[in-house]
């Protein structure tokens, strides 16, 4: 089973390019424009192995979603990488207990090496 990565971002262009690249890298990629739906869209049987989560999304705050997921009985063990253009992404990631972060715009090699650390396959 390929590693399943969930990408939650409100920007379709980001979803599109990440899905294209990660799929090409051999991952199974799910995309969500509204991070608030994460808990409702997944059950114990189909949990993602890694979540790429934007901080600043219309409709929901990535920070709040991350905090909620880290307390969720199903998702609390799913690693979360914050992907954001926010200058203080590193600080925020540390504050909310994320497992790592990527600062936009990033090189694909950065993305590749970071995601690979959570590759269970």
């Amino acid at each position: 089973m390929p590693t399943k990565i969930l990408v939650a971002d409100d920007d379709p262009a980001i979803l599109d390019c990440l899905q294209m690249f990660l799929t090409a890298e051999g991952y199974q990629v799910d995309c969500l424009a509204d991070a608030a739906q994460i808990t409702t869209n997944y059950s114990r049987s189909n949990l993602p192995d890694l979540i790429l989560l934007d901080i600043w999304m219309s409709g929901s705050s990535g920070k709040e979603v991350c905090l909620r997921l880290k307390k969720h009985r199903l998702f609390k063990k799913v690693p979360i990488l914050l992907v954001s253009a926010h200058q203080d992404t590193a600080k925020i990631a540390q504050e909310i207990g994320a497992d790592g972060y990527l600062l936009k715009p990033f090189d694909i090699n950065e993305l590749r090496s970071l995601v690979k650390k959570f590759d269970k396959s």
């Binding site: 920007d11 262009a13 980001i14 599109d16 390019c17 990440l18 294209m20 690249f21 090409a24 600043w56 690693p79 954001s84 253009a85 926010h86 200058q87 203080d88 590193a90 600080k91 990631a93 540390q94 994320a98 497992d99 790592g100 972060y101 990527l102 600062l103 936009k104 715009p105 990033f106 090189d107 694909i108 090699n109 950065e110 993305l111 090496s113 970071l114 650390k117």
Partner: protein, 592 residues
Amino acid sequence: MKKASRTGQPALSTPINLPILNESDSQTSPQCQNLFFLLLPDYQSPASDSVNNFDFSNNNSEPFVTDQVIETQEQNNQQKNVEGFIFLSFQADYFFSTEILQNPSLPVDFVVYQNIDEQPLINDVLYSSVPKLTAQSLAKTNAYTQQSILQIVDQAWQVFWAPNDNFTKSFERNLYPLYLFAGLSMSFLVFLLSRLHSKTLTQAELATHDLYASQEALKRSRLLYQAVVENASDLVTIIDLVGNVLYASPSHEEVLGYNPEDLANINAFQLLHPDDFESVRIKVAGLADGGSGRAEFRFKRKDGSYILLEGIGTGIVDDRGKVGAVFIISRDITERKEIEKRKDEFMTIASHELKTPVTSLKIYTQYLQEYFQKCHDPVALELLNKMNQQLGRLTNLIRDLLDVSRLEAGKLQLRTSIFDLTKIVKETIAIVQLTTEKHTIYLTSSRVAMVQADPDRISQALVNLLTNAVKYSPQSDRIEVSVNADNEQVKVCIRDYGLGIPKSKRKQVFDRFFRLNRPKSETYAGFGLGLYICAQIIDRHEGKIWVQNTVGPGSTFCFSLPIVAKKRKSRKKQNRSTKIRQKDKKPNKLLK
């Protein structure tokens, strides 16, 4: 008698007033005027012989003439030989009554000379009826219209005389020029005094006028200041050093809701927000040494709500040179803070919105690069490389603009840790080396250089300096980087062999938006923000940055940072440092 004793010559005594006995009724008349004695020295016999050279035997009509050989020695001899004096009374009234037969009772002014020369001298005057006879008046001897020779004991005495009226008229006539001169002098003096008085008066008037003008100016100035203070929209407050309100401008009512009279009995510190109380109290107390200070604080309105104020306080020095009160101008900065907040939000949104499309472009471009590399399509690969470079530039420009905005707002946050600067320099060189095929970057470093800094920001400064070195040395292929550390600091220098920087511009290159005016063919794109950001980053780390003199072409940019003290390397401290590193480190942006 003194004169006669001293000179051994005949002399007249001072006038003597003798009462005249009236025989008929045995009464005394009031006085007898112009009576004096003639004193004739009586010499011893030998001396008399010796002084016979005084010719006393001339006929009586001839005036008595001394030889004027009263030489000192002879005079002394005469004095020695004076045995006594013969006193003879001379009653002028009687004398002149015989001379003035027509009117014997006419009053007479006269002068008696021992010398009977034609030009008598003042020293020869034996007696004058005119008091205080001067040489000048004596020269006017024509005032004395009559001259008589008085023969007494074989000595001739010259008497000039004139009736009182004639003398006075004549004397006064002779004094006309003197009167004229005196009058003119007096007039001139009066004129001078008048001018002086006038001038003094003018000066006094001017001084009075100036004083009045100064008082008026002071009054106007006071009224102006009063008007400014009374009508200012800002809050003008005077408090003592413990916060008691001494004065509050009328604007307090509009801004805070307090009537100024109400505030006069209030301690302003009690109306501060509890969280701001201590900081403001300390700042106000600090003004006791003079100077001024600024503070932002929340102040309670009359309705109980808090308003955000910015106050600038200045100590007021009293007559004794001590600060007893503080003059504070405060203004409501709620709106300004709101604008700053919105600006920050805008910058955050702009940052997000600009970076998001660049992110997707970058992913696509780099994905295609890898794709065409596999396909061995060099043309497509070259084009994509150029695209990727331009995306890198765009990314840097966005980052620089955001950094400048943060620096200006003082909100550039540093995430410091202790690390080896040499290692960061090596890593940064490796990254920049990838961007240039023409240049080779050489590194020389002496030792491990531990610094406490934000590695990302230091790396950013290094990237800026290295990319500048690449950018501005298109004709050369060599860039040299050196890291030298001592116990105090570590110095990093980046040397290129490119266009160089004129000496006069070396300080300006660190200014915001500074661009060197180069020929059009040598113009390079950019905002002129890279070096400004470098300087700001190094400054925030308490370091220094400068352009060093370079032998030959190109330029050398250097910066220094304080080195971490050796004591931190002790075992105990090292453990703590490790903890700090672990806390702050971002290992490949993986937090766990």
